[in-house]
């Protein structure tokens, strides 16, 4: 058997095509990392080196590890993303359970509202929130930004979680109620343990969304000591102009947790996204 026939039988030619497609598609992400690993002079080189060799970690030393403002922003991003994840789970999980399993009269309008909330442009919500929060003193506070981010992540969680709760057999609820469980107990002891993968998916998604959130933070946090990485990157672009090696290092730092969470929970994310969008 010839090599060509073997390749064709194993469909390796498709693998090679696939690799090329993914390579071309992800080139921008590669270029970000490559630029961040170049010394300043190489950023100005023409033509540019495609592979930064030897890699230079100067940008990370100067701009990441050696920069207290950036470390502070990293911490802020972590606080905001964790806070938003917690608030979202606590509020969205019981609501999704009730909407999916118990026939509530307003379930139809709840579906409409959750979809609408996701479709609203963030800036349209951010402006009135700014007006409201500046009256009640929630501008420039962690609580304010966490609540604001949750206006995006709660509706999103309602949609993503729904299929997980729908998949539980109703017999289990009936059995629980025969055993004398009330609705709360059934939710806590029957519903929750069975949707653990769903909870992980929602937590991961919420964290990713909140970590990358920019619009609310831009509008609601003017104090630099509270701003997350995304807002800092925007500020740096304005300040540095052409220090692309530094800017790409900061961008890489913002993207890194996303890549890690994605690799760890890849299966959950792909499955959850498709189910949530197609079947609601």
């Amino acid at each position: 058997m010839s090599v060509l026939a073997w390749i064709k039988r194993r469909r390796l030619h498709l693998t090679v095509t696939g690799l090329v497609i993914v390579g071309v598609y992800l080139f921008p992400a590669y270029w970000m990392v490559a630029t961040s690993l170049k010394p300043r002079a190489e950023v100005f080189a023409s033509p540019p080196a495609i592979v930064p060799y030897p890699p230079d970690f100067g940008s990370y030393q100067d701009e990441v590890i050696g920069n207290p403002i950036l470390l502070r922003a990293f911490l802020n991003s972590a606080i905001i993303a964790s806070g938003a994840t917690l608030v979202t789970l606590v509020i969205a999980v019981p609501a999704t359970y009730a909407l999916a399993r118990l026939r509530l009269r307003f379930a139809g309008s709840a579906r409409f509202v959750t979809i609408l909330a996701q479709m609203l442009p963030a800036i349209v919500v951010a402006t009135p929130l700014f007006v409201l929060f500046s009256r009640v003193g929630l501008v420039n506070s962690y609580l304010g930004i966490i609540l604001a981010v949750a206006t995006i992540t709660i509706p999103f969680a309602l949609v993503i979680l729904r299929p997980f709760f729908l998949a539980i057999p109703t017999e289990l609820d009936d059995a629980a109620s025969v055993d004398g469980c009330n609705v709360f107990q059934t939710f806590l002891h029957v519903g929750l343990p069975l949707v653990r993968p769903g909870l992980a998916t929602v937590a991961a998604f919420t964290f990713l969304l909140a970590w990358g959130e920019f619009v609310f933070a831009l509008v609601l946090l003017q104090q630099q000591s509270l701003q997350p990485l995304t807002v800092l990157l925007n500020t740096l672009i304005g300040q540095y102009g052409t220090r692309w090696d530094h800017l790409m290092a900061v961008a890489t730092v913002i993207g890194l947790p996303i890549v890690i969470v994605f690799i760890a929970l890849q299966r959950l994310i792909v499955g959850g996204l498709t189910a949530g969008a197609m079947k609601d």
């Binding site: 992800l26 709840a110 963030a122 929130l129 920019f214």
Partner: protein
């Protein structure tokens, strides 16, 4: 029992009312007042009826932002959908490593928008950007432009970045649709002697229409929402060359501090997602029963 069930939804309902619907209603009220930087926090806010809306209707920048939004949304959608569909067809086959490769494509969609925006700003930079380096390397020197600072090309630069972001999402949902097509139908069409092209137009495409409609509706709304990308890449400029509607709302409010007018623009901008939500709920209603 009933009461307990409603109690489980109460925190979510209360949250959305307090932090989403009350501010939006309040925003509508604000759009009927004359509010600037002087009377934003304290002082009288004169009621002006629809004056803010009237000013928008007469504002050439608002007009141009409507046009730019149409261009931005339609071209982005066309690009995302066709490329996403082609990739879905490709990845709808089993070959060694197809799962991993398919999943890797999603990274483009998951990267925070500010990250993607700054990468594209860097790649499209006039003197040092890799796009222009590439064009010069293949002899197309005259095509190398200062993409994002030239008013004629800036909008195309942000469209390019937005297509890149949308491809994986389109691919993933269309792939789910393709996997729902029964194999027997495809095999029957092969037996009937249909070539690949005929198979696509007469078997696959008609069956993919409902999924495509859903994907396109979501695409319109998600593209219409775009704001971060443009703020970072161009800030809405040069001048107003990339000020789409969401940028217009932001600039009116936070750059020019015309809060009343910004609120009026925000109300108008909300109408589009409202219409499309109605459309989407209708398009996917039958799936709710499954």
């Amino acid at each position: 029992m009933r009461v307990q069930a409603y109690l489980l939804t109460a925190p979510a309902a209360l949250f959305l009312v307090l932090f989403l619907f009350y501010p939006l209603l309040n925003n509508f009220y604000l759009s009927l007042q004359d509010v600037g930087i002087a009377n934003f926090r304290v002082g009288e806010r004169p009621f002006v009826g629809l004056a803010n809306y009237a000013r928008l209707v007469g504002d050439p920048v608002f007009h141009s932002s409507v046009g730019l939004t149409l261009l931005f949304v339609s071209v982005s959608l066309l690009g995302q959908f066709t490329i996403g569909f082609a990739l879905a067809m490709f990845f709808n086959r089993a070959f060694p490593g197809f799962r991993v490769l398919r999943a890797l494509m999603l990274l483009g969609w998951l990267l925070p928008l500010v990250v993607t925006a700054s990468i594209f700003r860097w790649m499209l930079e006039g003197d040092l950007g890799v796009v222009n380096h590439g064009l010069r390397a293949i002899g197309l020197t005259e095509l190398a432009k200062h993409w994002l600072t030239d008013p004629t090309t800036a909008i195309w630069g942000v469209i390019l970045a937005n297509i890149w972001i949308g491809i994986p999402f389109n691919m993933l949902l269309l792939l789910a649709g393709l996997q729902g097509i029964p194999r027997s139908l495809l095999e029957a069409s092969i037996v009937d002697g249909a070539n690949g092209w005929q198979r696509f137009w007469h078997v696959i495409w008609p069956l993919m229409k409902p999924v495509s409609l859903t994907v396109l509706i979501l695409g319109v709304v998600y593209t219409f929402k775009v704001f971060d990308l443009i703020l970072i890449m161009t800030g809405g400029g040069p001048v107003n060359a990339t000020t789409i509607l969401t940028m217009f709302v932001y600039r009116t409010t936070f750059e020019f501090f015309r809060f009343g007018e910004g609120a009026a623009a925000a109300v108008l901008v909300m109408l589009i997602p409202l219409l499309f939500t109605i459309g989407y709920v209708r398009a996917t209603r039958h799936e709710e029963a499954l």
